[in-house]
Symmetry: C3
Subunit: 278 residues, 3 copies
Amino acid sequence: MTESAAPVRVIEKTSAYWRVLFDYPPFNIVDATIFQGLQDLLARMDSSPNLRVVVFESANPEFYLSHFDLTGKIGNIMTAVGPSGLPILIDTFVRLTKSPVVSVAKIRGCVRGVSSEFVLACDMRFASRENTRLGQPEVGVGLHPGGGGTERLPHLVGRGRALEIVLGANDFDGDTAERYGYVNRALPDAELDGFVDALARRIASFDRRAIAAAKRLINQVSLPSADRFLDSLNSFQTALTWSESQRRIQALLERGLQQDREFEKAWPAVLGTLLDKT
Amino acid sequence: MTESAAPVRVIEKTSAYWRVLFDYPPFNIVDATIFQGLQDLLARMDSSPNLRVVVFESANPEFYLSHFDLTGKIGNIMTAVGPSGLPILIDTFVRLTKSPVVSVAKIRGCVRGVSSEFVLACDMRFASRENTRLGQPEVGVGLHPGGGGTERLPHLVGRGRALEIVLGANDFDGDTAERYGYVNRALPDAELDGFVDALARRIASFDRRAIAAAKRLINQVSLPSADRFLDSLNSFQTALTWSESQRRIQALLERGLQQDREFEKAWPAVLGTLLDKT
Amino acid sequence: MTESAAPVRVIEKTSAYWRVLFDYPPFNIVDATIFQGLQDLLARMDSSPNLRVVVFESANPEFYLSHFDLTGKIGNIMTAVGPSGLPILIDTFVRLTKSPVVSVAKIRGCVRGVSSEFVLACDMRFASRENTRLGQPEVGVGLHPGGGGTERLPHLVGRGRALEIVLGANDFDGDTAERYGYVNRALPDAELDGFVDALARRIASFDRRAIAAAKRLINQVSLPSADRFLDSLNSFQTALTWSESQRRIQALLERGLQQDREFEKAWPAVLGTLLDKT
């Protein structure tokens, strides 16, 4: 596999500034392959002493990362542990937050469930005003967020908006996400690339020790504990065994999830009537 | 007393979705009767295994819940304890936050002091853009919030805005409350009912176990401790004995509080000159 | 030195409401003299039992307080301790937050680095919409915030926006600062004085015990610990010894920092290219 074909593809703009492209057709669905790509990336970041900033974006403007694979391709990411000693799912996100390297999510398209949890684990989030569908729809699937969403959202947006996002299980557009503090800013789509690139180049010009020290200090007052993440993940694994969640997952797959592009783009809209008989 | 005449009236739209109407003329003033109604409601919620969501609204568009009764009708809600072992005032709000059932405040009209603390204890708050007067005016009455406002506001709106709300002791309209994060959203009055009803129906269609698990996880990183609530309540009870607070309460009652509709709607406006001699 | 010539000048509007003017030409640069003025002010506040509120503003509309002096005039504020037992830099800000007196920052002009940390230590912040340049540019100078910025910002604006402010090291205008929660509100410049004066007069009319009790309760759930502040200050002192930071400080001074008015107003703009060779 050449680098240009990898689902998590690194473009080294300079030794200090990398872009990472998610490119995993058809819909950038998050499965064990994506997590392996992120683990490989974290190892490469850890051994790159000049690196300051990584911008995460999608090769597909309709799907940033769509959501967890619901057909069983998630491998052992909830049971095998990573370098931090935490399960791979949590290890990936926790190591990203604690890295001395700055992570920036540049968001276009659909970002739901575990994908929302990925952008919440990034240091900053900038979203397309016209083209963002961000949310935590798990409760509408009979589950709940298991990769940090319930831990990170309340600190960012407050308990009331966190409960609305998680219990309403619906999409948030760029403007609402900005108003709630879910993303740093929503920008007009035409300005998003320029804004993020200028910010990344600026950060890339700064001294790595200063960046790392500042990030460490902010982390000490703003990161949830590993215990809380493990509690969520355990509860999520239990929820996957419930017959109610299995019934909802089945209904979504039958309607076209992970297969039909239009349904994949809009599926949270049907969650409130998913099990209605006609 | 028939159900339709109760000051805290339950309308069971379905077994999963209830509306609760505050209807206690003339101004929905919060006294021991309102707290008894809320305690009865909580007991009924606890024994309703199909229930998912309760929307709290007012039968009177000018007053959601106005404020604590200042004429002595608050009974023993600060001394007698409820099922949680906490004083009724705190017990009511803490049990609401910890309930597996989702609580939504649909706000129109005046919501001040303990009433603001009630909506802060709800899981979500949606307010009429044109018709909301929300605040914690206690400091302007020589007191301070005693039912959780000082504990819940900083997490929602940050220390600076919490101090402005509490020390400024003034009303906030819907738009400012949204901008501050005091409410989830302010909506045009004509859209408020439709928005909240659609959200409630959606949540009511989800599985109760998933809702409860998600809410429990968010609560673990976002609820203040009982010790902090008790500290505030104790301090509030002391403040009620101060001659300064009694003098201000007396001045407000003499000006028409709890009797004159126009004064009841606008009284925080006079707090900055309440004791001025003419 | 007469009072009217002091760099930190007190105007006692009433015994309950003081204005404090920063007036330290040419640019209100923060050095040991400013901290001595603030220490004297705190002692005076502590012995003024009628005082309720202090509004901090600048005599110079272009510079509120500019930033830490980078030419060595900071005296012993990081090593000598104040009445709280903490180093003067931290002692000043911590005592301001814990004072029973309410502190309000009325912001016009440039407010960067330690000056941003001063306004973050105030109870509330109101900024001119047209004339505010607020930020924490330390990382762009090879340093990081050392006076509480990394501890206070995440609670106010969330981790993502705190990281953007600190790692981006750029200016924020009034509107963006309001949207982020960095300030309570941005107001049209023509309305700023009237708004803050009305709020201060209102608070000044309230009872001091009620104000102090409310502020104490909010502080208990919203103030960072002294340990975290000391960690930041220690790390900052180390960062000052790095050759990278010394090189950047030197480059800024050579370009006109602390001497050239136009450069002083706009210097964060050049931080991304500060060391580029031409």
